[in-house]
Amino acid sequence: MNENVAWSAEREALKEALPPLTPHEALVEATRCLMCYDAPCTHACPTHIDIPKFIKKIYTGNLKGSARTILESNLLGATCARVCPVQELCEGACVLGSEHKPIAIGRLQRFAMDYVYGKGVNIFPKAAPTGKKVAVVGGGPAGLSCAGELAKRGHEVTLFEKRNFAGGLSTFGIIGLREPVVIALTEVEMIERLGVRVETHREIGKDLALTDLQSKFDAVFLGLGLGATPNLGIAGEEQVLDGLEYIEKSKMEGHALKVGKNVVVIGAGNTAIDCATIAKRLGGQHVTMIYRRTANEMTAYPHEYEFIKKEGVRFEFLSQPIRVLAKNGVTEGVECVRMSLGQKDASGRPSPVPVEGSHFVIPADQVVKAIGQEKTSLASRLSLQLERGYIAVDEKLQTSIPGVYAGGDCIRARGSASTVMAVQDGKMAARAIHERLVARG
């Protein structure tokens, strides 16, 4: 797509799964769109992209206008076109969904975005400088969205990213067959072209102090994301690989990633599914996902579950790992105990209870855990008020410290964390910051 970013680290088996629509396919699909008024797809989209409008523009051949329509609501349109759970959002709300096939909104969005990035078209002109400075901490979707929106309004934005690349989970944490690295980095470049200065290897709490940022900038946005994968707290823990690192390696150094023959993935969320897919596609013969509840309670989207079953991955539901077996540092298996579902717990899901004497062993030479991420400890270290462990924010996404805003997974005390929600947070926070800066004159 973007020829400036050469990327060959990804393995062939993990190349983007869906081919781009051909111009004819896009035209036919765009023609099917009824162009609903006040459309439910637009309501369902967390960033409220005017979907009928961008599809109509594909239909009329105005691809630049189509991309602009998307980007006006969602600066990370190319990522969202690929990673959004469209079945639960826009496409799930399509009026053609009940009796017909919903419009392939995600793929049409990708068609329009690929067009402008492929041609290197700049959608937004540089704005006149306001002389205001904003610091954005964290280069994930929330930070990029906030930084881009502020730059569009003429503010001088510096984005601090602790890693070597911005993009957050889009760059490092989503399987390449759904979002290749190049897509995430192309969007980072676009945000930079809007005027955002990206400083990598800058980490708050280490070489950046919030108080410093507060004194040097007119406002601060925190898009900190979440922390590390928690420990399983079981014997043999040191043998277990981290799921996010597993995905990252498959994207950044795909040829160096060693995949076992018998791989066990602990967890049943979307990251676990990405890990199992990688294991299966890169040579794993038996890939088993273990989860202590059942398919009904798993946090992966239904379409992801359907996908992974077709990949040939096996499931051991109602199974709790209690020990990772190893000899001389070589993993040999996972000892599990069978669970049964009991009373509903705080999450509203039935809590699993171990069944006496039901221990069993799944042979494995590689064990990967993907059991969610811890809340970031930074929040309390920065003396921010918390809500259920997440950064507490008000309606305008302002934290307990005036002038410091936050968004993305680090504030997701309610609802499920997703890229598109993070983009919306960044956008809304940018609007609030802009209002604040303009009001102050």
Partner: protein, 476 residues
């Protein structure tokens, strides 16, 4: 030719519709003829068309010598659908006259049961017409069609529509033809005229045996937005050509019905061969109902080939069986008496739109059409029954559940509905919006009657206001 078919609902056999026609003495086993156009350009093509089942063919016009150009056909595509209309600057046959005549002779000999009609166009001189008519008759063809319609090229040389647009020329030339014609003569009319009835009456006056319409309509397909050249591009130039295909059907139906409702043409009893956008059997049935007794097809064949004749016949036959029509003449003109003018429409007739909430998919296209461009009588109703504006959801809400659950329903305020039928036309769901006929609230009256009985009401806005108040006509 009697046709029998195994009954669908009984175990017996019943007679199925007879599709054969006798058009001004020209017989064919079904009413479908290839129109005079590229598909009937040669003996080999017509031979294959007859093999596929076509009832007849009007040979591509023969006559004066011509040369053709490249990039002859433009087309209008819409919504991913190809060729809703075609436009052409092709002239009459550019094959040698003698070769055409020889092939016509051979085809007719090989297919005695099919209609072979020859279209002709020559210089506007009696001797030229006499000569071509004699030559055509020598082939054994069943009939002659006079091409007074071609709107491009030939018209610049005083032929084609240059004749069709002037009733006097039309009458004069038809008169020359009738002096020597021994086989039925059909006069083909051009639609590029403000009143189609005038040249038709001229043909009647000159003693023609039948009429046919419509020829192609003057048109320019468009401009290439990259090169700024005309489409199609003919060596850097382009220009008007004849327009045909599905998009012209409503225009053709109007002209057909104009002949059927004209006292002079109707009284003459001349049969009319209908054409202009016939693509399917249902198009064909409409042409028959509005007075055509043979049907000509071109664009649909140019798009899909001769094979479409199978469904044209099969579909028409099934429809006739369903409606109880046994022969084509029973269908011809069956709806002509329904064609009228505005002044004769019943002003008290009332229909209102009603939306079937079970079928409605909540696309809200009816709402925006009515609200922006019609009579503002469709409301968005929230779950609690209140009328809400569009986009009234909380911008922080999202996800399919909320989007679907919170979506208001569309409802017609029937007391304000004027029955314009726009919502019905935009609704993408079959049978979701119906135009419900309501009991008239006023005595029946037409504009004509009103003009006769209360002329002042039709001429003076103040009197009109009084009349409306008295009759309870409220226009919001």
């Amino acid at each position: 030719m009697e046709r029998w078919r195994r009954g669908r609902f009984t175990k017996g056999w019943w007679r199925v519709a007879d599709l054969s026609i006798n058009f001004a003495g020209i017989r064919s086993p079904n009413p479908f003829w290839l129109a005079s156009a590229p598909p009937s350009n040669s003996g080999a093509q017509v031979h294959r068309a007859f093999e596929a089942g076509w009832g007849g063919a009007v040979w591509k016009t023969i006559g004066a010598p011509v040369l053709n150009v490249s990039n002859r056909y433009g087309a209008w595509h819409y919504g991913g659908q190809k060729m809703l209309a075609i436009n052409n600057v092709e002239l009459i046959s550019d094959r040698p006259l003698e070769q055409n005549l020889q092939e016509i002779k051979e085809v007719k000999r090989a297919w005695p049961d099919r209609a072979v009609i020859v279209s002709a166009m020559v210089e506007s001189k009696p001797e030229a017409w006499h000569e071509i008519i004699q030559k055509i008759q020598d082939t054994g063809a069943d009939g002659i069609e006079l091409n007074y319609g071609c709107p491009h090229g030939m018209s610049e040389r005083g032929m084609g529509s240059a004749v069709g647009q002037v009733p006097e020329y039309c009458e004069q030339i038809t008169g020359w033809v009738m002096q020597v014609a021994k086989i039925p003569v059909i006069v083909k009319l051009t639609p590029n005229i403000s009143n189609i009835v005038m040249p038709a009456r001229a043909a009647v006056a000159a003693g023609a045996n039948a009429l046919s319409l419509i020829n192609t309509i003057n048109s320019i397909i468009g401009v290439d937005l990259d090169t700024l050249e005309m489409v199609p591009n003919i060596g850097g130039k382009g220009g008007h050509g004849g327009y045909a295909g599905p998009a012209v059907k409503p225009i053709a139906l109007n002209m057909l019905s104009a002949l059927g409702t004209d006292s002079v043409v109707a009284k003459s009893g001349l049969p009319i061969s209908g054409m202009g956008g016939i693509s399917t059997w249902s198009d064909a049935a409409e042409f028959l109902l509005l007075g055509a007794s043979s049907l000509q097809v071109c664009t649909a064949v140019m798009h899909y080939g001769f094979r479409i004749i199978e469904d044209l016949c099969d579909g028409l036959s099934n429809w006739m069986d369903e409606k109880g029509f046994q022969t084509i003449p029973e269908v011809v003109g069956k709806s002509v008496h329904r064609v009228s003018d505005f002044k004769n429409f019943d002003l008290s007739f009332k229909a209102v739109a009603r939306i079937d909430q079970e079928k409605c998919i909540r696309c809200d296209l009816c709402y925006v059409a009515c609200n922006d461009t019609a009579h503002q009588c469709i409301d968005l109703i929230a779950k609690d029954g209140s009328v809400v504006p569009p986009g009234s959801y909380d911008v922080r809400s999202n996800g399919k559940e909320e989007a679907v659950h919170q979506r208001p329903m569309v409802k017609v305020r029937e007391e304000d509905c004027v029955g314009c039928r726009l919502c019905f036309n935009v609704c993408p769901v079959e049978h979701c919006i119906t135009m419900v006929e309501e009991k008239p609230e006023r005595p029946s009256v037409t504009w004509e009657e009103l003009t006769q009985k209360q002329r002042d009401v039709t001429e003076d806005w103040e009197k009109m206001k009084e009349y409306r108040a008295k009759m309870g006509i409220h226009i919001h």
